[in-house]
């Protein structure tokens, strides 16, 4: 198998990364339409919903670029005159945290005070897993391959070294996470608990913890206390999520009805 593994469609040679991303967004959107019907509290007026998605996309774009620039470190500053350095690169962790921030700011601006994130957990998992197929098929240029390894499942991405297929680990983890989330949803449904953003936070916490760990298997620039920018963002994001979860837990003990409506 050659990397990058191009797709050939109607005589066109398509790069796997943007192709899989288009499929990921389309599939995530379709799943989102299905799941939102099951989360009646997530229902919002049409325009508000659209602008909330715009806020999420803007936050995701900003977050993913900012973290990619921080991850690039001195290589970015050394060749700052080359626009390709500024254009290239994005990270899922930055996208998730930026998207979350964007939604919270959008909700504040539109005076929406109930949780909207739970309905997006499954679409996010699906989109991320499909996107990671694109990362895998892109190979070395994507910078998501792991360190060299002697393990039997190591893959040669074209540089003659057998490497950890970190993108496939991501897909495997996301599959397990989806199963865990599905079990959690079934239990909460049985207890008839209203969605209150806990599911989204649990998903985010699990993914950030996983990404923090798996980054040790990747070649990385780690000047910050021997950690990379992505790992620092994972720690900060996990701390924020934990505080938010604890707040929610405490308010649910005080008043379960209020807890279901409190989002911030």
């Amino acid at each position: 198998m050659e990397f990058p593994h191009y797709f050939h469609l109607f005589g066109l040679r398509l790069h796997p990364h943007p192709t899989m991303e288009v499929i990921a967004y389309a599939a995530g959107f379709q799943l989102c339409r299905l799941t939102r019907r099951r989360w009646p509290r997530a229902a919002l007026p049409f325009e508000q919903n659209i602008w909330l998605i715009v806020a999420a996309a803007a936050g995701a774009l900003l977050g993913s670029k900012l973290l990619a620039w921080a991850e690039a470190g001195p290589s970015l500053w050394h060749s700052w005159q080359d626009p390709r350095m500024w254009i290239g690169g994005k990270t899922i962790v930055g996208g998730l945290l930026g998207g979350w921030a964007g939604v919270e700011l959008g909700k504040r601006a539109m005076h929406i005070d109930h949780s909207t994130g739970d309905a997006f957990v499954f679409p996010l998992i699906l989109g991320m897993a499909i996107g990671r197929i694109g990362c895998f098929l892109t190979g070395l240029a994507d910078n998501t391959c792991g360190l060299p390894t002697h393990l039997p499942w190591g893959i040669d991405f074209g540089d003659g070294l057998s490497r950890h297929p970190a993108q496939l680990y991501d897909i495997l983890f996301l599959g397990l996470l989806a199963a865990g989330v599905a079990i959690h949803v079934r239990r909460t449904r049985r207890r008839d608990l209203p969605p209150n953003g806990r599911l989204f936070r649990l998903f985010l916490l699990a993914y950030l913890a996983y990404r923090f760990s798996v980054e040790f298997l990747k070649p990385r620039y780690n000047p910050y206390l021997r950690l990379s920018a992505i790992q620092l963002a994972c720690l900060a994001g996990a701390a924020l999520t934990l505080v938010s979860l604890l707040k929610r837990q405490l308010s649910s003990k005080a008043d379960p009805v209020v807890a279901a409506t409190v989002d911030r």
């Binding site: 943007p18 325009e47 995701a60 390709r84 690169g89 994005k90 892109t138």
Partner: protein, 120 residues
């Protein structure tokens, strides 16, 4: 001459003030129309970008220069986002503006570099 009490009884009641809320405005457009406008906005956004890319490719004889690429990357989405922001304040065109903004952001998200590319 009528006494004071009779005068009060025969006086007409002063006009009562209308405390009702502001007059009810035009109802919003049907959901179907708003959905259609969102799709139109989204398609317009994609179309504008495709047009800009084609012009860039033709102008650069198949290989657009870096300046042209940057112009496409900054000018076209910038104009689209500005237009979307203005449309967000016009009630009937909010969904069209949303579609325009979404197209811009999604194109950026999908085509702006691979994961952490150029890093390290």
């Amino acid at each position: 001459m009528p006494c004071r009490e009779e005068q009060i009884l025969t006086e007409q009641n002063p006009e009562s003030l209308n405390y009702a809320g502001p007059s009810v405005g035009r109802p919003p457009l049907p959901l179907k129309v708003r959905r259609r406008r969102l799709i139109y906005g989204f398609c317009t956004g994609i179309g504008l970008t495709v047009l800009a890319v084609l012009i860039g490719v033709v102008a650069g004889n198949g290989k657009p220069g870096l300046g042209a690429v940057l112009l496409i990357l900054l000018l076209v989405p910038g104009c689209k986002l500005l237009a979307a922001l203005v449309l967000a304040f016009i009630r009937d065109w909010r969904s069209f503006g949303g579609g325009l903004a979404l197209s811009s952001l999604l194109i950026f998200l999908i085509f702006l570099g691979t994961c952490a590319g150029f890093a390290r």
